[in-house]
Symmetry: D2
Subunit: 110 residues, 4 copies
């Protein structure tokens, strides 16, 4: 999401005077709700079947998750690019290529 | 997330030969798991208290959600900027400013 | 869960003076968090592999979900046996055997 | 849930030939989805407001969570009464009354 799109998300909220509802805790709750709706697209089905039957819904629910993610970052004073880069650096240390290659084990089992 | 950061996320996965685990269904599962870990930062606390005590963890868990969101988009052939813009357009129709201003009701109750 | 076990769960809470934290909203948040931890037992694995490797953790996380479910029912004045029976009756109407037999479709697609 | 109610839940599933869909992983997914729908009852509202406006829906979604919890226990060969008692014993050790009384801290911070 570039800065322009994040700005559109924030503007959408401000146009509707919704910032008063969008405190971080209620935004984290909303993100979890949407994550469940996204997961529902894959209920009882394989990945292939889900993508074939419910591709549009997957796109909508994933967008909802990302929009709430943006709003939560904004309400918490976090920069999305910074926190993702920081987490990738942390993950690189927890999952060095030579140990983690081709393995799905959690880092404490490498 | 600009194209460069998305590329880093995908490269991180490829360096570790993890694409074989990252089918859309298991990615949606992982996104839901991380959404729960993000929500845990706010358990039993107000937004203010949570931000004060667990700001770094909030950043890490939110980054995890966004990273899995990126990987799910990539595995499903979805463009993040496009799906967010499409959802904002859909939301604008469901929540016109004149009806939704200052109201938290769901669209079918406006 | 028979009435005696529900009583033990409530007593555990009262012994620790935790009722003041256990309002329905924060209990629903906690139940969602535990549902994510339960789901994590199945991350990247099949059902069989998960049961083989993480059976004890599955038991613990499922217990956590059910304990929070109990506390939420108690805090909301709901009777667990009643609400389950009511939902089974509702589901029987939405998924009549002659239409739903062997099918995983949602009720609005039967 | 007494043994009779659990039996009704299992019978409902067998009457519709649904056991083939109800493997533990997909049941854990379903439980998480319902936990999100339960949490949605409390979105943007306080506990009081949510109970007042959406009491029936809270009962239905909580019932859904508990029904899937039952089915997951059955599919995994777990006894609900046993696993809850075991978790209460574990929690009693992690949160002794003298340390945990009136405190919401996680056990590793007591």
């Amino acid at each position: 999401m570039d800065k322009e799109l994040i700005q559109k998300i924030v503007q959408f909220r401000n146009d509707r005077d919704w910032a008063k509802f969008h405190n971080p805790k209620d935004l984290a709750i909303s993100l979890s709700i949407e994550a469940g709706e996204l997961l529902e697209c894959f209920q009882w089905s394989s990945s292939e079947e889900s993508l074939e039957l419910r591709r549009e819904k997957i796109a909508e629910e994933l967008a909802d998750v990302l929009i709430y993610g943006c709003l939560l970052a904004e309400a918490s004073g976090l920069d999305i690019e910074e926190i993702i880069q920081a987490k990738l650096d942390l993950n690189a240390a927890k999952y060095p290529v030579e140990k983690a290659f081709g393995r799905k084990d959690k880092y404490d089992r490498l």
